[in-house]
Amino acid sequence: MDFTLSEEQKMLQESAREFALKEMLPTIREYEEERRVNHALTKKLGELGMLGIHLPERYGGSGYDYMSAVLVWEQLSYVSWTQTLTALGHGVLAGTVLNLGANESQKQKYLPPLCSGESIIAVGAVEPAAGSDAAAIETSARVDGDQWVINGSKNFITSGGLADTCLVLCQTDKNLGWRGIALIAVDTDTPGFSSHPISMVGDLAGDLSNLGFLDCRVPRENLIGEVGRGLHISLHGIDTARLFISAGALGITQSCLDASIEFARERSQFGKPIGSYQMIQDSIASLAAELMAIRWQVYYAAYLKSRDLPHAKELSAAKILASDLAVKASEEAIRIHGAHGCTDDYPPARHYRDSILMTILGGTREMHKLTIGRELLGLNARS
């Protein structure tokens, strides 16, 4: 067992950290206040090879393993998670889905501009009546001549309003259940497509949209993979996304911890730095202890996934622990900062808004507990 990072991994970390501090930190507040997406930043992430960090080099990706990707994502999220969410929905989720499910010509068409950030691709799975239960989707796709005709709606889609293309999870035949589910690429300039931005508690510098499909007609060759494989392909993408979300949660926690340490050393009350009081030290030490342990769980899940080894319960554990820790860390950090922590003059407030989202996308805590339970007990609660 070797716990040391390679020289190359240290370089990735350093490069991502420098980028986040110099390119994201100075503008994050402005973008959050104006509720705008920093498109230039997404392009720069593409130029540096971070959007397709885990995708094959022959399609414009950087070809790194998941461990390296985790290290990079930790550093980016350290500064701002909302600014990495665009990259997550696009590069990680859509990128993984296409790389696994698309045929060669689709890969050639979609992946290089995805990796460079030239075009944005979203994945639409969740619907008003189908959240955790993704197999229950109702958006329909039927064949008409050489076209698919798509009708339905999708909810909470990351970058849904920015995307050039949306990979839409559709039901082709209700009677077939998951065997009827297909993933179909819909360009967002297709007549009948509409997007409606939604406002969430966090992700203020990102785009989350509800999407509508009214008799959207797309060529039949826009089917990604085969009918019946859509759910599997999407779940694979979500599996990868949840690893990146876990990494982001580590970044948020580290940022909250660092900010708390700095503040507790500088802020004095009753004639002494507040960090000299044992209750504050307890908060900081407890967060640090949990972060040390949970970081290794995320790295272990990345290690297993990089080697294509079974990792469902390990990654589910990492996702629950890391995202819950990020929520707790941002809350504790705000408490340590007092009223200052409730303002955007310090990092914890934005992490507080974003961390709660992490507990939901990529699978809720309850879903991950069901996954771990199923693996341990051999009994599936959901069927």
Binding site: E7, E8, K10, M11, L12, E14, S15, A16, E18, F19, K22, E47, L48, G49, M50, I53, E57, S62, G63, Y64, V72
Partner: protein, 262 residues
């Protein structure tokens, strides 16, 4: 165009407290994080920009322990072609002339058109190595360079002088330029570059490889001796000015004028 760029790994003293170690000749660097010297980062970028413009080869040279490899490979990731790291405990790193001798030995005998260094190292602040390197190599130099225009067999450089003045000089190649911060906008290492950097050559050389004798560059033969390092005692003289606001302002202004501060 064959370009050498010399870089140094220096401690970031902004975050941790600076403490002098037990023998009084060095600072305790155990709490510091290290990174490339700021001006050297600009020198790397300038070297790569020149290469991108006129073609050629960028070789990175650094002196120091293995811990510097990440910094060196970062320069390779940005576009450097190969690197040399010089490591030898016999080298006296306190004397800039001796450091210049070592660096010169790494460059000498190879085809070079330009050698770029940072104009100053943040840790010892001598501003001497680049200039001494030119002297040792027997080539012209320009210091504190803010702009470089490469031409056939020569280079036109803009130097920063006091009071916002700039000086333009033309040097015959080969030459040494010490680069001022702000000359360009250093790039981030693209992550594909980081992968490629792992495969680029990084040679580790010692004095014997460089054909230098210990006597040339060791403490014993240096004309400079580090006596000791210390942290100046902090003394404060505070004076509370009493009175009405107008009076206070007048007294303060008077003091500032008399003290030569206004």
């Amino acid at each position: 165009m064959n370009i050498f760029v010399c870089i140094k790994r220096v401690p970031d003293t902004s975050e941790a407290e600076v403490k002098v170690d037990a023998n009084g000749k060095d600072v305790d660097s155990s709490k510091f994080s290290f990174d490339i010297n700021d001006a050297d980062n600009y020198a790397v970028e300038e070297a790569i920009l020149i290469k991108e413009k006129v073609g050629g080869n960028v070789k990175v040279v650094s002196m120091g322990p293995k811990d510097g490899d990440v910094m060196i490979r970062m320069a390779l990731a940005k576009g450097g072609d190969s690197a040399i790291r010089i490591e030898d405990p016999r080298i006296n790193t306190v004397d800039p002339l001796q450091v210049a001798k070592v660096l010169a030995a790494a460059v000498k005998g190879q085809d070079f058109d330009l050698v770029l260094t940072g104009c100053m190292a943040e840790d010892d602040g001598n501003m001497a190595v680049g200039v001494a390197l030119a002297e040792t190599l027997g080539v012209p130099h320009a210091a504190m360079v803010k702009k470089v225009e490469v031409d056939e067999g020569k280079v036109k450089v803009y130097r920063e002088l006091e009071g916002g003045l700039s000086e333009v000089v033309e040097l015959a190649l080969p030459a040494v330029l010490t680069i001022q911060t702000g000359i360009n906008e250093p790039r981030y290492a693209p992550i594909r570059g980081i992968r490629m950097a792992q495969k680029k050559e990084l040679k580790v050389l010692n004095l014997d490889d460089l054909g230098l004798a210990e006597d040339d560059v060791s403490e014993g033969s240096s004309l400079v001796e580090l006596k000791n390092l210390y942290i100046p005692e902090v003394v404060s003289h505070a004076e509370i000015i009493e009175g009405e606001p107008e009076e206070k302002a007048e007294i303060l202004a008077d003091k500032l004028v008399k003290g030569g501060l206004l």
